[in-house]
């Protein structure tokens, strides 16, 4: 084992630590538990196959997030299927500080939601979000601005 291999976390530990968070993020973007699961597992499988390279990236979780979203996009387009739904624990509405806001988030276009979830759930910076989603920083800022504008409107601000 090389020194670099010793420094890099094993795929197994990455998977255990990252999968729930990435699955949640992907599910919030897609609004479909089943597709989010397929997409996350597919992306994780590809990460495993390329772990020697992916494990060295600054943000391997970002790579998995992007691959999962790309996979889901291709998959949904091809199947022309209707979106499914998110599966929540019973009584989750009571746990939400503002259910109306969450409803409005789910009406945003998927590309916008991918940015919003990256910025406000995964807590990635504009720069990180830009690199992960492979879109210009200006697009990240524009989508964030437009999405927040729409959400403020919903909230009557």
């Amino acid at each position: 084992m090389t020194e670099a291999d010793q420094e890099r976390p094993s795929f197994e530990s990455f998977y255990g630590a990252t999968r729930p968070r990435i699955f949640r993020a992907v599910a919030l973007v897609l609004g479909d538990t089943d597709v989010a699961l397929e997409a996350t597992e597919e992306a994780m499988t590809r990460a495993a196959e390329r772990w020697q390279a992916v494990g060295r990236y600054d943000n391997p979780a970002g790579w998995v997030y992007r691959v999962a979203l790309n996979w889901a996009r291709t998959h949904l387009r091809r199947l022309a299927r209707e979106r499914g739904a998110l599966e929540f624990e019973p009584g989750y509405e009571q746990k939400l500080p503002d259910p109306e806001l969450m409803e409005a988030v789910m009406t945003l276009p998927t590309g916008y939601r991918a940015v919003i979830v990256a910025r406000f759930f995964l807590d990635w910076s504009v720069d990180e979000t830009s690199r992960v989603l492979q879109i210009p920083e200006g697009t990240v800022k524009t989508r964030t601005h437009r999405a927040l504008k729409r959400l403020r409107k919903v909230m009557g601000e």
């Binding site: 699955f23 538990t33 397929e38 387009r77 022309a80």
Partner: protein, 306 residues
């Protein structure tokens, strides 16, 4: 409290309340395929060519044929079909996939022939071209009909939508679930089904009509027509768009800027047509499709957010 903070709190609360299904181990076994004879099958060129082309993948189930590469079939109805066993996912515990070695990336534009058959006086080939080398690498699959012994150029039609398949799947073993052709009164009807992914298995059938030397998609579902049209438009696929839309709708589309990151939302029915909505950056795109066969795009409407 700012909307940003409210957003953070809501996303976190919603994420925490999400039910996380048990992980499914995605296996990638090699499907097994067989060729079978269809009704009225004459053991001539078509199946023999296929048996020659992919000897390692298929078990020859006919008999008495002498393989003659490129010899056209004289049969009025030839069915050359492979039946792949869909790859399945089985529920397991949360075992992560095993790490393996890094693979060298393929180059955009790389093309692989998935299969080739001879039907009447045409060679029908399925070609996969790598169009996106970002993960997940995607491929456009094209059906090409080449007249045998003539001087006419081949005609092509995209299977599904451009960039609609995964490169590593369509170039892997057992990628083709079905590739068959039947003679009808209107010409040859070609059916293609392709493995979609290790977990999804085979696609729904894609149909094409080969009338003379002209190959056109034979699509009945309006929502599929709308999606294929938008995908072709995004990809700048001028070859496919006229097959999917009336001239007026085509003119409307050409007057608009090409949609970016269009995502299908839903279709709503109306008398004789359906309206299919796509989310695009800065607004929505509405595609009206005639439901009477042949289903075609008859109107393109752009709605801006501003």
């Amino acid at each position: 409290m700012s909307v940003e903070q409210k957003l953070r709190d809501n996303l976190k609360a919603a994420a925490d309340a999400l039910v996380i299904p048990q992980a499914r181990q995605i296996s990638r076994p090699k499907p097994t395929s067989t060729w079978r004879r269809g009704p009225g099958f004459a053991l001539a060129g078509a199946a023999a060519v296929l048996a020659l082309a992919l000897p390692a993948l298929f078990l020859w189930s006919g008999g008495g044929a002498t393989p003659e590469h490129g010899v056209p079939s004289t049969s009025p109805s030839v069915v050359a079909e492979s039946t792949a066993v869909p790859r399945t996912s089985s529920p397991t515990t949360t075992t992560p996939p095993t790490s393996t070695t890094v693979q060298a990336p393929d180059t955009i534009g790389a093309t692989e022939m998935m299969d080739e058959v001879t039907f009447n006086d045409h060679t029908l080939a399925l070609l996969a071209t790598l169009v996106d080398d970002e993960e997940p690498q995607t491929a456009t699959v094209v059906l090409r009909a080449t007249p045998i012994g003539g001087t006419e150029p081949p005609d092509e039609a995209v299977v599904g939508v451009p960039a609609g398949f995964f490169w590593h799947v369509v170039t892997g073993d057992g990628a083709l679930c079905e590739f068959s052709a039947d003679q009808t009164d209107d010409g040859a009807r070609v059916t293609v089904r392709i493995d979609e992914s290790p977990s999804l298995g085979c696609s729904e059938p894609y149909h094409f009509m080969l009338d003379g030397d002209e190959l056109t998609p034979d699509i009945e579902a309006p929502e599929v027509v709308a999606q294929q049209f938008v995908s072709s438009w995004e990809a700048g696929d001028e070859m496919t768009m006229p097959d999917l839309a009336d001239p007026d709708a085509l003119s409307q589309a050409r007057e608009m800027s090409t949609p970016a990151e269009a995502e299908f939302s839903y279709c709503e029915g109306a008398a004789g047509s359906v309206y299919c909505t796509f989310e695009v950056i800065g607004g929505e795109l509405v595609i009206r499709v005639r439901t009477e066969p042949p289903a075609r795009v008859i109107e393109v409407i752009s709605i801006s957010d501003d």
